[in-house]
């Protein structure tokens, strides 16, 4: 549905050229939710703006629903954009219009009749759960409600694709969840293709089918989220995954932790589970193989589709500690001894 082929974009400032996108190619299938993750400045905003040509690429092709946008005239492009909806981090609602009139805006552009607009807008208000706010101005809405209005506005022209530019980055975690849920339900109900960019792995994990990682204007890794989450290849990808799994050593352990082993201390070990079903049996494996008792101190497990992955922090107790540590290092990724406790 969306195809970027070797898209390149650079910006010229006074004394240097900044390469925002370097030879970026990606394909988003119909009905898919595709996420692009990257740190700020990685080029993700430019990437999503290249899809509807708010930024014109220097080179490469952009194809949406079999129309090669990069070939169109400005006037043709304007009309084509009406089928490519977009929502933004800061919502970008018109402050001079009520909620109803904001949603009506794209319909007015199309020259729809008053009665058509009324029917369509009321349906959309229903869909995003804001019937009661129809006559309010955006200034009186919460962030989450504003994004709901923006989503309703985006859907008004029955778009083929929806572009989400950091749509939840300005929202608190609970509101983020509800907006993501809404996006997912729209995706399923309308079979709407969604391309989103974000810097939060949480967003990718919650709703995406596929993910691409962007770094310094290049897509360094892409694939199904199961694949990326359980078997990341690039350091930056691993970093994103780890940042979504943060467990901290409980305070009581932090105080009694010593760096070296004074003889009969127990190691605190942190390691990652990466979706391999057998790995989930780590506690019983340690006991059966090495008679090691593993005391779980902290753990976080997440599900991506049917696969689980996560991080586990355990204290190992028993005689065959070294063998057990070797086993963990071999079988699990990112195994790390945080210290020893008495």
């Amino acid at each position: 549905m969306i195809e970027l082929l070797n898209v390149t974009k650079s910006f010229k400032t006074k004394n240097k050229t900044i390469q925002a996108l370097a030879d970026v190619s990606l394909t988003v299938e119909k009905g898919e939710i595709f996420g692009v993750i990257g740190t700020s400045g990685a080029g993700k905003s430019t990437l999503i703006r290249c899809v509807n040509l708010l930024e014109k690429p220097n080179d490469g092709k952009v194809i949406v629903d079999n129309v090669e946008l990069t070939k169109l005239s400005d006037a043709q492009l304007t009309l084509e954009r009406r089928k490519i909806a977009m929502i933004f981090q800061h919502f970008n609602l018109l402050s001079s219009r009520t909620v109803f009139d904001n949603i009506a805006f794209p319909l007015e552009l199309e020259g729809k009749s008053k009665s058509e607009i009324k029917e369509k807008v009321n349906g959309l208000l229903e869909l995003v759960g804001l019937n009661e706010k129809a006559k309010d101005y955006p200034a009186n809405l919460s962030g989450g409600q504003k994004q709901r209005v923006a989503i309703a506005r985006a859907l008004a022209n029955d778009p083929k694709v929806l572009l989400c530019d950091e749509a939840t980055s300005a929202l608190d975690p609970a509101t983020t969840k509800s907006i993501l849920k809404l996006l997912k339900s729209i995706n399923q109900k309308l079979n709407l293709t969604i391309l989103l960019i974000t810097h939060e792995m949480e967003v990718i994990k919650t709703i995406c089918d596929k993910v691409a990682v962007i770094d310094h204007g290049k897509l360094v890794e892409q694939g199904n989220i199961e694949q990326i989450f359980t078997n990341p290849q690039q350091e930056i990808t691993k970093g994103f995954i780890q940042s979504s799994l943060n467990i901290e050593l409980p305070l009581v352990y932090q105080n009694s932790l010593s760096i070296g082993d004074s003889g009969n201390n127990n190691p605190l070990v942190k390691f990652m589970l990466t979706g391999n079903n057998d790995q989930s049996f780590v506690i019983s494996n340690l006991f059966e193989k090495f008679q090691i008792k593993a005391k779980v101190i902290s753990a976080q497990l997440e599900y991506v589709g049917s696969l689980s992955f996560g991080v586990l922090l355990v204290e190992l107790q028993g005689k065959n500690i070294n063998e057990a540590l070797a086993y963990l290092e071999n079988e699990y990724s990112n195994t790390e001894i945080l210290g020893y406790v008495g």
């Binding site: 977009m86 933004f88 552009l109 101005y137 200034a139």
Partner: protein, 217 residues
């Protein structure tokens, strides 16, 4: 104060109001599109065009540098060809409109610059044509600020028209100049002053009220 003087002041007030409103109208007729053009041709805007922006910008700056009292005199030949005379209310309208237009253009440009750029981007992403963006995004979003500009302009025009009284424009300025200054009549001078102050206050209050009414930010 004699009836004839009161009559004169009343006549002057009406003339000042007419000059202010009519030249304000024509000023905006010229200034609003110019301001929109200046904004749209700026770097990074919808119709970015450095050359046309510079040209219009320079013309606007030139007209803004000319002191109003000199503009009136300088424009006399042009005024004559348009309204047929260089004296009175009708003649004053020409320099007042021309003099306020560049001022208005800059005010409008500034108002439009206050609009968050994300709104224009969103409108573009929805497939709005440039004219639709001007009509449905730029002007409505800037309306409260534009209304403030109208009051600023009208108040400036009250002052300009009074100034014009010294060189043949009608209105309170002429009354104050002729009867107050030349005729050395303090009562007339002060009455003119009070009337001008009242006029300015009414414009400011009305502007504030309307601007607030249309501000939903």
């Amino acid at each position: 104060m004699s009836d004839s003087i009161i009559n004169l002041l009343f006549q002057g007030t009406i003339e000042t109001i007419v000059m202010t409103l009519v030249s304000g109208f024509f000023g905006f007729l010229l200034g609003l599109p110019t301001g929109i053009f200046l904004f749209l041709t700026r770097k990074g805007q919808l119709l970015e065009n450095k050359v046309s922006h510079q040209i219009v910008s320079v013309i606007v700056n030139i007209f803004r540098s000319i002191p109003f009292i000199i503009l009136i005199v300088w424009m006399i030949p042009f005024t004559r060809t348009i309204v047929g005379t260089s004296i009175g209310v009708a003649a004053a309208l020409v320099p007042l409109s021309v003099g306020s237009a560049p001022f208005i253009a800059r005010l409008v440009e500034n108002s439009l610059l206050e609009i968050p750029s994300g709104l224009i981007e969103a409108a573009r992403s929805m497939g709005a044509k440039p004219l639709q963006i001007i009509r449905k995004v730029l002007l409505p979003e800037a309306l409260p600020s534009l209304i403030n500009n109208v009051s600023i302009t009208l108040i400036t025009l009250v002052g300009y028209s009074a100034m014009g009284g010294a060189v043949g424009a009608g209105g309170l300025g002429q009354v104050g100049y002729q009867y107050g200054y030349i005729g050395y009549d303090f009562a007339v001078m002060n009455s003119v002053l009070v009337l001008l102050i009242i006029l300015v206050f009414i414009i400011q209050l009305a502007g504030d009220f309307l601007s607030k009414k249309f501000n939903h930010r």
